[in-house]
């Protein structure tokens, strides 16, 4: 509940203030968002499974974002930034789909 409310508050703040993304953060922000979404869906699934743990959620959230950013950073410096970001997005997308599928089974029993 806290998480959902905070998500909405954050969205509203972002829409209201419309800040510009700093140049240095620009390649990382989309990947970080996708990684965080993965962590959030993982957390929802764990909550529905009854095994949600605050600590695990926080750590997975932060580490997801950091690792995704690190991979993109490395990729940019190795000259394969575009391909690596695509790879990261694909992997995270697969995970999100898996988590959503589990959530769906819980919610709709199907």
């Amino acid at each position: 509940m806290i998480g959902a409310a905070a998500l909405v508050v954050g969205l509203v703040l972002g829409i209201v203030f419309r800040p510009t993304v700093p140049i240095g953060l620009q390649p990382y922000l989309p990947i970080a968002v996708v990684a965080a979404l993965d962590a959030v869906f993982g957390g929802v699934r764990a909550a529905l499974d009854g095994i949600f743990d605050d600590r695990v959620f926080v750590v997975s959230f932060v580490s997801n974002v950091l690792v995704a950013g690190l991979i993109v950073f490395l990729g940019d410096h190795l000259g394969v930034g575009a391909q690596l970001s695509t790879g990261v997005v694909v992997v995270l997308g697969i995970r999100i789909f898996g988590n959503v599928a589990a959530i769906r089974r819980h919610v709709f029993r199907a």
Partner: protein, 240 residues
Amino acid sequence: MKRPRIPTAWRFRFRAGVLIGVLCGLLGFALAVQVHSTQSSALPSARQEDLVRILDDLSAREDRLRTELAALQTARDRISSGSDRTVVALAEARKRSGELGVLAGTVPASGPGVVVTIGEGSRHVSSDVLLDALEEIRGAGAEAVQIDGTGASSVRVGAGTWFTDSGGNGVKIDGHALAGPYTFTAIGDGPTMAAALDIPGGVADTVRQVGGSLDVRQSRSVQVTALRALKAPQYARPTK
């Protein structure tokens, strides 16, 4: 020992909840910001190699368009200079046609010149006198000449003009029967033509010998309005 543990766990849970809230809020914020920046413009968030590729594409496109522009400009220059040439050539041809028309007698002409009136006395002025007068005027540089008389319309003098006596009282010029007094209207240098007619033993003397009169009046502007019908040459062909 149970009582202290519960607040600790509660406090931990509260802290974790705040942390989760902060993280989720950050996520929402980042989501909104990213969506907004992607919508506003794709370029600032594009990575370096993408930008390089886009730039390359644009450069190639620019090169292509420049080539096209140069070709089109060349074509435009060619066409406009071509039409200029056509216009100049047309004007030149019109001018030339007018000049030739004046010489051939197919267009009316005006300009400085003389009006020569040959009056008849007791005897008729014969055609050879008129021919002499015309030859003198021509020799003095007349560019367009017409002959009027009583009895017929004006005759424009051309290269094929012919004179003949027509029985008792008149001449035939180009088939038109004319009678005196005759009037030559000639465009050219007035003083020269007047002097040519007036030389001793010349046309003026001849006319007076037959009892006629010759009057030369110079004018700054005379009109030669009679026209000749142009006959297409039957045998002669222009050669280059």
